[in-house]
Symmetry: C2
Subunit: 344 residues, 2 copies
């Protein structure tokens, strides 16, 4: 068959991020666009706060790109809440066709990949991709309410309170504002399951999925890790990231210092007590939007691979004794050839 690799010609017009206090206090804190220090964003519930972060971040992405809502052909969005209500309520006020996604923490790359396909193939000139997660909403839904004070396992990851929104344009067109950063190729992930059934060690469950996508990408594209300044997964955290490095070395693709993980860099491991590192649909979105994209626009990075990884279980499936299936979607991202005009 035709290979899985997809040639794309998509450009990041803008990105915007909204985060909570812990993310603002972290090493990337200065980079985020919006923050509410009490993590509530003026809402009564954590779930509504998550929706509000989506609304605010997408609104900000529109403003940065000087783009009107009616010029966006479609939105791809998802989150971790049951029935993805963070997205359906968060983006309700926008009069834009809506494709709801569920890819757990892989949703950021999944949405960007689908948005890039639609703009690259001339379906719509501009599409949006938005994802989010909220620590307190996720703890309550997946584990126990934060107020219970449950002890965390050493490998447990910390769900990022944050939303990231992106506007993606057809690279063949001219836009008033653009970061100049392009999505050149994409590779959708295959769901795999390797027997891990500990929901406090999702990094271990997701590492084999990231391995599978990376190895398929290098084989199909004929590239190798050395061709990239940076290979970033999001969000295997410390445990999963370390496993992936070992697995890649064993497969003959050592990644060395160019490898990092969004969940490893969003918090200060020593100071912020986050155990296995960050996770959540918001994690890779805010790190891509506010850390990697600006670095690409400035030319500090020339060419990178970005993978979002998702653990596709539910609390019920774990209780029923099932293992954790996982998936990782990949994007090849390049800096502008002559510097971006304006970073969104």
């Amino acid at each position: 068959m035709e290979k899985g690799l997809i040639d794309l010609g998509a450009i990041f017009l803008s990105s915007a991020t909204a985060v909570g206090r812990k993310e603002k206090d972290g090493p990337l804190g200065e980079a985020f666009d919006l923050c509410d220090p009490d993590d509530r964003f003026g809402c009564k519930t954590w779930e509504s706060a998550e929706s509000e972060m989506q609304r605010l971040s997408f609104n900000t992405a529109l403003a940065k790109a000087k783009c009107e809502e009616e010029n966006v052909g479609a939105l791809f969005a998802g989150d971790l809440l049951n029935q993805c209500v963070g997205s359906s309520y968060g983006l309700l006020s926008f009069d834009i066709p809506y494709f709801g996604l569920y890819g757990a923490c892989s949703t950021c790359a999944e949405g960007l990949l689908l948005a890039s396909i639609l703009v690259s193939k001339g379906i719509y000139p501009i599409c949006g991709a938005v994802t989010s997660s909220h620590y307190c909403a996720a703890e309550r839904q997946y584990r126990t309410p934060v107020e219970y004070g449950a002890q965390r396992a050493p490998t447990a990851q910390w769900t990022v309170t944050g939303a990231g929104a992106f506007l993606i344009g057809d690279a063949e067109r001219d836009f008033p504002v653009s970061t100049g950063v392009t999505i050149k190729r994409g590779l959708p992930g295959i769901v795999s399951e390797k027997g891990i059934n500990d929901a406090n060690n999702m990094g271990a469950a997701m590492a084999p999925a990231a391995l599978d996508t990376l190895v398929r990408f290098f084989k199909e594209s004929g590239t190798s890790p050395e061709d990239y300044d940076c290979i970033a997964t999001g969000d295997l955290g410390f445990e999963g990231g370390s496993i992936l490095e070992d697995l890649m070395r064993a497969e003959g693709y050592p990644m060395g210092d160019r490898y990092t993980d969004c969940g490893q860099i969003i918090y200060d491991r020593k100071r912020q007590d986050v155990h296995g590192g960050g996770s959540g649909c918001g994690c890779s979105a805010v790190v891509l939007g506010s850390h990697f994209l600006p670095r690409l626009t400035k030319g500090e990075l020339r060419r990178m691979l970005f993978l979002s990884t998702g653990a596709m279980m539910s609390p019920d499936s774990i209780k029923q004794g099932e293992s954790i299936p996982a998936v990782a979607h990949l994007l090849e991202i390049e800096a502008p050839t002559q510097g971006g005009t304006d970073h969104g």
Copy 2:
């Protein structure tokens, strides 16, 4: 901006459906491919049974189309279970790139639309779309376990136990087997919310979304209801379907007898005690796959509009007092010009 309408050139290679006992006992019972009379499909849990229906229906769709797994470029799948585990576990055994979707009961049309875009634009020659729901799993998750014997509201809908799988090919290519039925155009839905917050009346919440998509379609395409033999929503049920007929008449697009709803025809209303009619991601999928597609292949229908409608709330969002957002995605489907070669 460019209009929302998407020109497509996609063909249904095959479809396959798996259902439970109540669906088999209904008016369309003879049409379904697979049935397990105890609704368990050999599994210990309702959730696993739902996954197994996805696996069986997709496997059967592959066999009907004489298609090998490695020739399928990507799968689009979703369901109603938290974190969409019906799909992630159900399709885990297939080594095919996976895009997880969440559109509640709109997921069938959402997946078909995205699969059609990818094949029409030459990304992959063949894509799959699979959706499912299970009555017992849905009752337990959304309302109360069936064993509690809770009384049902008159407008409450009955979640279909069923899965539908479709293989979609690029209409420009030749395939060994095809139904000949084509997807000509598609229109993604916009999420709307009109103040309905009764989770036992989702038809009323979804009718305005179906109205919005239909009216946009007729305006953008320059067609009218008379141009179609059949306009089928899935699944507004009796209450929502009746509201949609009224709303469409008021907008100047009376649909008359050509209108139907998958949730209205899958069960016998008098004999099967289903109150508001059928619903669930499986409802429109099994009715399209085993009822409408064969009728199109045989030429009993020449041209139809198919809309799946989804209510995008969660049990938690309802408890928090939120209204129900809804979305409806549309496909324009045509019979083969000279009859299909073989219905899959």
